[in-house]
């Protein structure tokens, strides 16, 4: 059974459902989708006792107003978009009960860019290849199954209705700092960079460009020199930092293409990608080199907190 739970009064620029992502199909050219800020997404689910992988609403930049159709327990994590219930501010990083007919609204970003709204039991949406992750470019997933973002009058469904919890959960808010440090595992192609460019890569402050979306985020700064402008296309993973001929890095994210041929500096860790997803255009980031084994263990530990 599926229950109508929220109705869209005002859609805002971009809100879409994301589960953990679509896997096992990259060899066909299909991308992964899933939450840009994996950590906030996972915490939102955890706050309402959802299992890993439940579909959550990812709201980018705000501007969204939802009307509640049935009492439901929710949690909001990620960016501070000035969320209100019937115009009263509500705290983030904790679960709360939303009552029928109340209006949940998101303003514009005060801190961060993306908010995650989880409902207890998870949103219900058609699954394609075991996932309802929204990918607009591929017209797959989401509340309608065609990759579209939320529009006015759309209705979101919950898998199950629950009684409101008597106690609510809280978690430690994640801080979004002035300059975001991003852990980067140097890759095998670092030898293609000149020595001074490698120094530059890790010792300058990069600015997040306006050209940033779910496929990738461009950074601007002193351009890096690469000895080869392009390589033979190969599979590219989440967080791959590629350097096109203009010398400015592009960090490839959830909706990235499956193969690509620009030289790569290395890969951001998934948790660094999650932090980058909350950095607004014009704000600063730095790359911090880290070892693959340590980063791998840290990520395995992160997953074990949730899975």
């Amino acid at each position: 059974m599926s229950h109508p739970i929220l109705r869209v009064i005002q859609a805002g620029p971009l809100a879409q459902l994301q589960d953990a992502g679509r896997f096992g199909v990259r060899h066909l050219g299909l991308t992964q989708g899933g939450p840009m800020d994996l950590e906030s997404w996972a915490l939102a689910n955890q706050l309402v006792d959802n299992a890993w992988g439940c579909a959550v609403l990812e709201i980018t930049v705000g501007g969204l107003i939802l009307e509640c159709l049935e009492d439901v327990d929710c949690a909001i994590t990620g960016a501070d978009l000035g969320a209100t219930v019937d115009k009263s501010p509500i705290p983030l990083w904790q679960s709360f009960s939303l009552k029928k007919a109340q209006r949940l609204a998101f303003g514009s970003p005060k801190q961060g860019l993306r908010v995650y709204l989880a409902v207890k039991g998870g949103f219900d949406a058609p699954r394609f290849l075991k996932s309802c992750a929204s990918v607009q470019r591929e017209q797959l997933g989401g509340h309608k199954g065609d990759g579209s973002r939320l529009s006015r009058e759309d209705v979101l469904f919950a898998s199950t209705l629950f009684k409101s919890a008597s106690e609510h959960k809280k978690t430690q808010p994640r801080a979004f700092g002035q300059i975001t440090d991003l852990d980067l595992i140097p890759g095998a192609q670092v030898h293609l960079f000149s020595g001074s460019s490698l120094f530059q890569a890790f010792n300058q402050v990069w600015t997040v460009d306006l050209r940033a979306d779910r496929m990738g985020i461009r950074l601007t700064g002193n351009p890096l020199q690469v000895k080869l402008p392009s390589l033979i296309s190969e599979g590219i993973g989440l967080g791959a930092v590629q350097i096109p001929p203009d010398g400015c890095p592009i960090v490839l994210l959830n909706d990235r293409q499956t193969i690509g041929g620009y030289p790569k500096l290395g890969s951001l860790t998934p948790l660094a990608c999650a932090r980058l997803a909350q950095v607004q255009p014009g704000q600063s980031v730095r790359f911090r080199a880290c070892g693959q084994i340590a980063a791998s263990e840290a990520y395995a530990q992160f997953l074990s907190r949730f899975k």
Partner: protein, 235 residues
């Protein structure tokens, strides 16, 4: 076995839960039996610990499930696998698939330029594009988009300097030594020389993508009438 001596695989970091196995440095059809063999062995040995695997011209990218296997253990699997890797028998691998194409200026906007630059008649272009089957080296760019090669010298044309905003679904195109057919309407920078009525990517179909890495693809010239009879849209 001479070819085997040329194989110097490298296992490269590709993030917290992925490796890129680099088998070759150059694009060659002879790479494919090794690449496909590596994919098959990984599927067997990693089994449910495999998240995704993406073969390409010279590499195989492998993502594993960190909750089921550690980074070091996954590397060890690859090291042992590579020590006993044998090429697949390609006479039994990869299907031969046909792609019917209506080669015509009304659906092939770059045919005229190709003919001009290479001094070819339309019939000669068709003959060159259909004279032998091409191998699928990689899938990517968009769902079901297959990179095939290698084209004869006479058809080698650089990409458009400015990509088109919209390339029609089914467009058959060439760029450098490669050819492809667009499974959906997307922006694109390849030289379009014709159109196929085939549905190249269908999420409702079992294999979804008509073409798979390793397949041999034979282009076949058809008339406008056949194109329309097969469901093609000539607008």
């Amino acid at each position: 076995m001479i070819k085997k001596a040329r194989l110097v695989p490298r296992i490269e970091h590709a993030g917290v839960d992925a490796w890129t196995v680099r088998l070759f440095d150059d694009i060659a059809e002879e790479n494919m039996p090794w690449i496909l063999s590596l994919v098959k062995r990984c599927e067997v040995l990693f089994s449910e610990r495999l998240v995704d695997i993406v073969p390409s011209y010279t590499t195989v990218w492998i993502q594993y499930d960190l909750t089921k296997i550690s980074s070091q253990a996954s590397r060890q699997v690859l090291v042992s696998l590579l020590q006993e890797l044998n090429p697949l028998d390609m006479s039994r691998e990869g299907c031969l698939k046909e792609i019917p194409v209506w080669y015509h200026p009304s659906v092939g906007p770059e045919l005229a330029r190709l003919q001009d630059e290479k001094g070819l008649s339309l019939d000669e272009v068709i003959a060159l594009h259909t004279e032998k089957a091409f191998r699928v080296f990689a899938l990517g760019f968009a769902p079901g988009f297959a990179f095939m090669g290698s084209l004869p010298d006479a058809l080698v044309l650089p990409r458009l300097s400015t990509p088109r905003q919209q390339v029609a679904v089914g467009s058959v195109a060439i760029a450098e030594r490669q050819t492809a057919a667009y499974p959906q309407a997307t922006p694109g920078g390849w030289n379009v020389i014709g159109r196929t009525p085939l549905r190249l990517f269908d999420p409702q179909r079992d294999a979804m993508s008509y073409l798979q890495v390793g397949d041999l693809v034979q282009f076949v010239s058809i008339t406008q009438q056949e194109f329309k009879r097969l469901g093609g849209d000539d607008r």
